[in-house]
C-alpha cells in the first residue's frame, strides 16, 4: 500500500544553557493511510516533541518529513497553511486547548471558516454535523468549556480538529486526563471516526494497554530514539528491547493471581543534553556490555520487528 507519511532520520535539538538537548535524535518510520502508529515512552523521552515536529508545529533540526509523497520539511506560507488543514493534533488537556471565551459552536465554526470552504450558513450546518459526529448534544452549542466535563471537552477538541478535513491526526495523550469509564468512550469514538473518514493516526501515550488497543504499529521511545518498532500485538507477546521489557513489566496487572515480578529499573532517565554515543539505555540496562558504548542501529530482528540494540539477538535467544 502507498505510504501516507514517511519520516527519515528526523532530529529536533534544543539549545539550552547546559548544552544541546537531543529531544528527537534520528527517528525514521513510515505510516500507511488508515493506520495508527502508537508512540510510547516515559516523560522526557521526546514523544511529544516528535509529534509536534512531524506536523510542523515546530521546525526540525534535521531529517525529512514526506507527506503524500511530497517533502514538506521546509514548506512555508500558503503551502504550510494548506498542510495544517491536512494534519491536526489533539492535546492531553482539553481545557487548556479550548478558548474559555468561545462557545462550542464558535470553537468549531472558527476552524471551519479558516478553511475558506464554507459560507456562513454552510458553516452553521457543518458545525451541527460535526457535533453530531463526535456525540455532543445540540443543546450544548452555546455552552462554554467550563460548563462541560472532561469527556465532552475532548469531544469538542476532536470536532474542531476534524473541521479542516484532515487526513492525519496526532493525538498527544488524548485520553490520559480522563477517567477510565470516559476513556473508553473517547477511544471508541476515535476508532469510529478513523473508519468513517479514513484517518491516519499517531497516538502518543504512556498508557501501554490503551496504545495496544488502538494501534496497528507501536514505536517505543527512549531518550529521543526509537528503540523498538513492531506490530502492536507483538509488543506484549515478544518484546525484544530490554527497555521495552522493563516498561511492560512495570505496568501493574489487574490479574491478582498472576502478579508478575516487575523488573525494577535502577535510577532514572539520564539527561538528553549532549548524550554520549552508544546505547542511551545502557546505564540502566541489566544486559549492558562494553559494545553497548558503540553507536547502535535499528535492525530488523523478525519480520517488521525492528530493535535498536546490538545485543538484541543474543539476549532473546
Amino acid at each position: 500500500m502507498a505510504t501516507l507519511l514517511e519520516i527519515r532520520n528526523l532530529k529536533k535539538y534544543f539549545q539550552t544553557p547546559k548544552g544541546v538537548l537531543h529531544a528527537v535524535d534520528g527517528i525514521s518510520f513510515s505510516l500507511e493511510p488508515g493506520k495508527t502508529m502508537g508512540i510510547v515512552g516515559e516523560s522526557g523521552c521526546g514523544k511529544s516533541t516528535l509529534g509536534r515536529t512531524v506536523i510542523r508545529l515546530i521546525d526540525s533540526s534535521g531529517g525529512q518529513i514526506i507527506f503524500e509523497n511530497k517533502d514538506v520539511t521546509f514548506v512555508r506560507g500558503r503551502e504550510l497553511k494548506a498542510l495544517r488543514q491536512k494534519m491536526q493534533i489533539i492535546f492531553q488537556d482539553p481545557f487548556a486547548s479550548l478558548n474559555p471565551r468561545f462557545t462550542v459552536e464558535r470553537t468549531i465554526r472558527e476552524a471551519l471558516m479558516l478553511t475558506k470552504r464554507y459560507s456562513r450558513p454552510e458553516a452553521m450546518d457543518e458545525t451541527e454535523r460535526l457535533m453530531e459526529l463526535v456525540g455532543i448534544d445540540q443543546r450544548l452549542r452555546n455552552s462554554y468549556p467550563h460548563e462541560l466535563d472532561g469527556g465532552r471537552r475532548q469531544r469538542v477538541v476532536i470536532a474542531r480538529a476534524l473541521a479542516t478535513g484532515p487526513r492525519f491526526v496526532v493525538g498527544d495523550e488524548p485520553v490520559s486526563a480522563l477517567d477510565v469509564s470516559i476513556q473508553a468512550q473517547i477511544i471508541n469514538l476515535l476508532q469510529d471516526l478513523q473508519e468513517a473518514m479514513d484517518l491516519t493516526y499517531i497516538f502518543i501515550t504512556h498508557d501501554l494497554s490503551a496504545v495496544k488497543h488502538i494501534s496497528d504499529v507501536i514505536g517505543v521511545m527512549y531518550l529521543g530514539q526509537m528503540v523498538e518498532i513492531c506490530p502492536s500485538n507483538e509488543i506484549f507477546r515478544s518484546p525484544l528491547h530490554p527497555y521495552t521489557k522493563a516498561l511492560l513489566s512495570a505496568i501493574p496487572s489487574i490479574d491478582i493471581h498472576h502478579q508478575q515480578e516487575s523488573v525494577i529499573l535502577e535510577g532514572e532517565i539520564v539527561s538528553p543534553i549532549n548524550p554520549k554515543p552508544g546505547c542511551r539505555f545502557s546505564a540502566r540496562c541489566r544486559y549492558s556490555q562494553a559494545k553497548c558504548g558503540e553507536p547502535q542501529s535499528l535492525e530488523e530482528i523478525a519480520t517488521d520487528h525492528f530493535v535498536f540494540c546490538s545485543r538484541a539477538r543474543e539476549i532473546n535467544d
Binding site: S43, D179, S181, Q191, H206, L208, H213, A250, P252
Partner: protein
C-alpha cells in the same frame, strides 16, 4: 460490638461520614454516608474516579478540609478508638505527621520550593520529638537514605530533584515519625510506570518495616491489585462495594465495579471495541432519589430509581449495594 468504637485489630474506623462543600450558593454532596474499616498492618484500597469523594475522605481523617467552604455534617472517624472529629485543633496537630500522615499526588506542590529538603524533613521531626538540631539533622539524613536518596542531597532544593525523587522526599517527611496510618492519595499517579514500580515497592517495604497501615486512594485497578488487602469501591460519595481483594477482583458484583473492569483495554485480549460505562457522573449538587449509579446502569429496574439500597453482605466480608449479580 461496642457502639462505633474501633474493634480489636482495627486502626481506623469511619462511620456514616457525610461531608458537603458549598460553592456559589450551591451545596455539593461530596461524601454521603461512608463507612470504612482499616485493619492494623493492612492496606485498604479506596478505588474510584474523579469526584467520587476519595480525597475528601482522607482530608476528613486528617481534618484538613478547607474551613470556610466545607462542612462535616455527621459521622465519626475513630483512629485507635478516639474520634478525631471531637479532638481540639491542638490535639489534632499532635496527630498529623505523628500517628497519621498523608501524601498527595503532586509532590511539587507538597514541598516548599524555597527550603532545602533536609530542613523540611527536620521540621516534622522536631515538631513531634524532643530532639536537638543536630540529632534531627542526622535523623533527616537517615530518612533520605531510607527512601533511596543519598544523604548529602539533604542540602538541595526541591527543583533539583526529578518527579520520582521529589515523591521520595515527600514519603520521607510522611514517614519520619513512624506513623501508624499512612493516607496515600494517588501517590504514583503523576509518575512514569517504571518510577511508579520503584515507589510502590519502596512503600510496601517500609510499610512492613514500620508495621504501618495504609489507606491507598487511587483510580488505578492495577495499583490496587498489586498493593491492597482490601478494597472499597466509591462512586458519588458512596461506597458501592467492599471486600477483600479477591472478592472484588474475582467476583466483582456491583454493575459499576464490573463496568470499570470492562472499560479497561485488556492487553491479553483482542477486542475491536471497548465497553465504556455510558453517560457521566451525576451532578453532586443534585443527587437522585434512588441509586446514584442507576442513570448509567444497564441493569437498572424501575425500583432503582426510587429506592435507596443499603449495603448487603453477599458473602462473608463482601458487601455490595446492588444485588443484581449477587
Amino acid at each position: 460490638m461496642q457502639n462505633g468504637e474501633t474493634q480489636r485489630g482495627e486502626l481506623l474506623r469511619i462511620r456514616d461520614l457525610v461531608v458537603e462543600y458549598t460553592s456559589e450558593g450551591e451545596t455539593i454532596h461530596a461524601v454521603n454516608g461512608v463507612s470504612l474499616e482499616l485493619k492494623k498492618g493492612k492496606t485498604l484500597g479506596l478505588l474510584g474516579e474523579t469526584g467520587a469523594g476519595k480525597t475528601t475522605i482522607a482530608k476528613s481523617v486528617m481534618r484538613i478540609l478547607p474551613e470556610t467552604t466545607s462542612k462535616i455534617n455527621s459521622g465519626e472517624i475513630y483512629l485507635n478508638g478516639k474520634d478525631v472529629l471531637l479532638l481540639s485543633e491542638k490535639k489534632m496537630r499532635a496527630i498529623r505527621g505523628k500517628s497519621a500522615s498523608m501524601i498527595f499526588q503532586d509532590p511539587m506542590t507538597a514541598l516548599d520550593p524555597v527550603r532545602r529538603v533536609g530542613e523540611q524533613i527536620e521540621e516534622v521531626i522536631r515538631l513531634h520529638n524532643n530532639t536537638g538540631k543536630n540529632e534531627a539533622q542526622q535523623w533527616a539524613m537517615e530518612m533520605l537514605e531510607t527512601v533511596g536518596i543519598k544523604a548529602d542531597r539533604a542540602r538541595e532544593y526541591p527543583h533539583q530533584f526529578s518527579g520520582g525523587m521529589k515523591q521520595r522526599v515527600v514519603i520521607a517527611i510522611a514517614l519520619a515519625c513512624k506513623p501508624e496510618l499512612l493516607l496515600a492519595d494517588e501517590p504514583t499517579t503523576a509518575l512514569d510506570v517504571t518510577i511508579q514500580a520503584q515507589i510502590l515497592r519502596m512503600i510496601e517495604k517500609l510499610k512492613k518495616e514500620l508495621d504501618m497501615s495504609m489507606l491507598l486512594i487511587t483510580h488505578d485497578l492495577g495499583v490496587v491489585a498489586s498493593q491492597c488487602d482490601d478494597v472499597a469501591v466509591i462512586y458519588a460519595g458512596e461506597i458501592l462495594e467492599s471486600g477483600s481483594r479477591e472478592d472484588i477482583y474475582d467476583h466483582p458484583t456491583h454493575p459499576y465495579t464490573r463496568g470499570l473492569f470492562d472499560a479497561l483495554p485488556d492487553i491479553n485480549k483482542e477486542v475491536r471495541r471497548l465497553t465504556p460505562i455510558t453517560g457521566r457522573m451525576i451532578d453532586p449538587t443534585d443527587l437522585p432519589k434512588g441509586c446514584y449509579f442507576q442513570p448509567r446502569c444497564a441493569y437498572a429496574k424501575k425500583s432503582c430509581r426510587h429506592e435507596r439500597r443499603e449495603m448487603a453482605e453477599i458473602s462473608p466480608g463482601h458487601h455490595c449495594r446492588c444485588t443484581h449479580f449477587a
